[in-house]
């Protein structure tokens, strides 16, 4: 059960030579600098651009042989592309009215998709549910021209979802939004991650969006794939671009264990460890992800005593990389709660003679870890 993509093309001075495979569920982030041919690649996957070679396989079904308008690959554009002559509601229903009827069997293509089983176990998305999920109920009678950018993008996402796609592509959908609108829309997208049964390929160059949304990440640069894997693995890989960003974090998956309001702390269960963080409002037992900023992580060779950090986790250094331009050392540490990442001065790492295989103690302040929905 996988999404297999391969795109080859040469356009101007950009050469695309991309092949990757992602799980056929969840949000799969395609992370790379903007303007690196990602938009072109997504359009080619949707069949809207012709490339030298395009192959799109979803759970064994070849989608690239189907004409674009019957391919059922949704695409959300950075600028929304709403139809201004239609109301928000008509925009939302545009794709739904053209989606194949579930119980009508017409043509060999329909039979193949139902045999594929990809959409058989899931109920079709209904307009009411999508409007509720994206907070669009009050906008239905409005005209697109009267919406703000955040609302426009939510309508565009809803419209694409209601067309009942088998695969949804999102091309930097938050690019045109300011920080506040971005935070608001991210919240809606997180809700979407848990509800939408289809795989999503989400292109972005934002680390924040990647940490908040991704289950799986494909790293793109210069028209090539640098690496692909679960976010929790790739976030702390010192040889890949995610970890070298100054605002890089490690991502741990866990459950909310308990709250201690008197101490102002919540406990997160990650693997066999309990990590205390500042009090949050998630219900007990909900899956959460913990972002641990690499700059906030401190390492010690011996068990530290009487320190100001609530969490000390022992682990083993797996990789150290010295960045000569920033004089920083990136250290990847394997612990029983997951892979962690530390940024420290190159000099400090040399003073400790940090080598792969060394036992270290990782100190994490409760205040610096951030809990988001899992």
């Amino acid at each position: 059960m996988a999404v297999k993509i391969s795109v080859e093309h040469r356009r101007g001075f950009l050469t695309l030579n991309i092949a990757f495979e992602t799980p056929s569920s969840g949000i799969n982030v395609l992370f790379g600098p903007s303007g690196a041919g990602t938009s072109f690649m997504l359009a080619a996957i949707a069949g809207l651009q012709s490339a030298k070679h395009v192959q799109v396989e979803l759970d064994g079904d070849a989608l690239h042989t189907v004409p674009a308008h019957r391919r059922r690959v949704g695409l959300v554009f950075p600028e929304g592309r709403l139809f201004d002559h239609l109301s928000v509601e008509q925009n939302l229903l545009f794709g739904l009215q053209r989606a194949p009827r579930k119980n009508v069997r017409a043509g060999p293509e329909r039979r193949r998709t139902s045999r594929g089983g990809g959409d058989k176990k899931h109920k079709p998305l209904r307009p009411g549910d999508v409007a509720e999920l994206l907070g669009l109920q009050k906008l239905l009678n409005r005209r697109p021209a009267t919406l703000n950018v955040s609302e426009r993008q939510r309508v565009a996402i809803g419209r694409a979802l209601l067309a009942q796609p088998r695969l949804l592509l999102m091309d930097d959908p938050l690019a045109a939004l300011d920080a506040a609108q971005r935070a608001e829309t991210l919240h809606y997208l997180q809700r979407l991650r848990g509800t939408v049964p289809i795989p999503v390929l989400y292109a972005t160059h934002s680390l924040e969006e990647t940490y908040q949304l991704a289950n799986f990440v494909v790293l793109l640069e210069g028209g090539q794939v640098l690496g692909a894997g679960p976010l929790t693995e790739l976030a702390s890989r010192v040889d890949l671009p995610l970890a070298e960003r100054p605002d890089a974090s490690a991502v741990l998956l866990g459950h909310l264990h308990s709250h201690a309001p008197a101490r102002g702390l919540s406990s997160i269960e990650c693997g066999s460890h309990i990590i205390d963080v500042t009090l949050c409002d998630f219900a007990e037992d909900t899956p959460v992800r913990l972002l641990v900023p690499a700059r906030e992580v401190m390492l010690a060779l011996h068990p530290p005593r009487d320190i100001g950090a609530n969490n000390v986790i022992s682990g083993m250094v797996c990789a150290v990389r010295h960045d000569v331009t920033t004089h920083a050392a990136l250290v990847e540490i394997e612990t029983s709660c997951g892979q962690l990442l530390a940024h420290m001065a190159s000099d400090a790492a040399q003073r400790l003679h940090l080598q792969p295989g060394d036992r270290v103690h990782v100190m994490i302040k409760s205040l610096s870890a951030m809990v988001i929905s899992g």
Binding site: A43, G47, H69, R70, F77, R98
Partner: protein, 232 residues
């Protein structure tokens, strides 16, 4: 200053010429407007050709029409032989002269309409399951429609005032090619036609004003078809 039956006949002929001009030129304007909304090699050349009558003295346009469509011209002689249609000194000829003059205006309005339904929107519709025909009826037509209506009204209004090309190509034949501006010109040529000319000029001014008011209103409405319908 009452309007005489003679005036009414002139106004009706003017309307007939303008209507004929718009109807006959519309298909060509649609094709050129659609083509100019696309990107292709030679677009600038087509644009220059379409706009030619705007910068050319009308008398030159009229003369070019004589060369092409006059009794001796290649097109004119063919039409005469094939359909028995003589363009010079006839109402269709006057309409042709008007058509040549208003063509660029109509192409511009239609092009703007087609540009509203751009490739990006069509691509979005395609990814939502709309095939080529579906895209045309669901997007291109509704989005380009206002531009086409505007082109028709603009073309008709502008035709009412065409003078130079009409008089050069179709001459000033009362009842056949003598539209309002030509009738005013004829009246001014006579000894005591000043009153007649003034009366007709007032009619022309009224018609022009009405025409441009309608055009402006439609342009305003159609150019911004989106009105906020805020509820809650």
């Amino acid at each position: 200053m009452p309007v005489t039956p003679y005036d009414v006949q002139i106004i009706l002929l003017t309307f007939e010429v303008a209507a004929l001009a718009v109807v006959s030129v519309l298909p060509f304007a649609l094709v050129a407007g659609w083509a100019l909304s696309k990107r292709f090699r030679g677009r600038f050349l087509l644009n220059a050709l379409v706009n030619l009558p705007l910068a050319l003295p009308p008398v030159v346009t009229g003369w070019l029409l004589i060369v092409l469509c006059g009794a001796q011209g290649p097109v004119g002689s063919w039409l005469q032989a094939r359909f028995g249609l003589a363009l010079t000194f006839s109402t269709p000829g006057a309409a042709l002269a008007c058509a040549a003059m208003v063509y660029p205006l109509m192409v511009h309005a239609i092009r703007a309409g087609f540009e509203a339904a751009n490739r990006d929107l069509l691509a979005a519709a395609c990814s939502l399951g709309a095939g080529p025909m579906d895209q045309f009826f669901a997007l291109t037509l509704p989005l380009a429609g206002p531009g086409i209506v505007l082109a028709i009204v603009t073309g008709f209004t502008a035709s009412l005032g065409e003078f130079g090309a009409v008089i050069t190509f179709a001459a000033n034949v009362p009842g056949q090619t003598q539209t309002l501006p030509l009738a005013i010109y004829a009246a001014l040529q006579t000894q005591d036609g000043a009153t007649e000319a003034a009366r007709l000029s007032l009619c022309a001014a009224a018609l022009a004003l009405l025409g441009w008011l309608i055009t402006g209103f439609l342009g305003h409405r159609l150019g911004r078809p989106i009105r906020p319908q805020v509820r809650n």
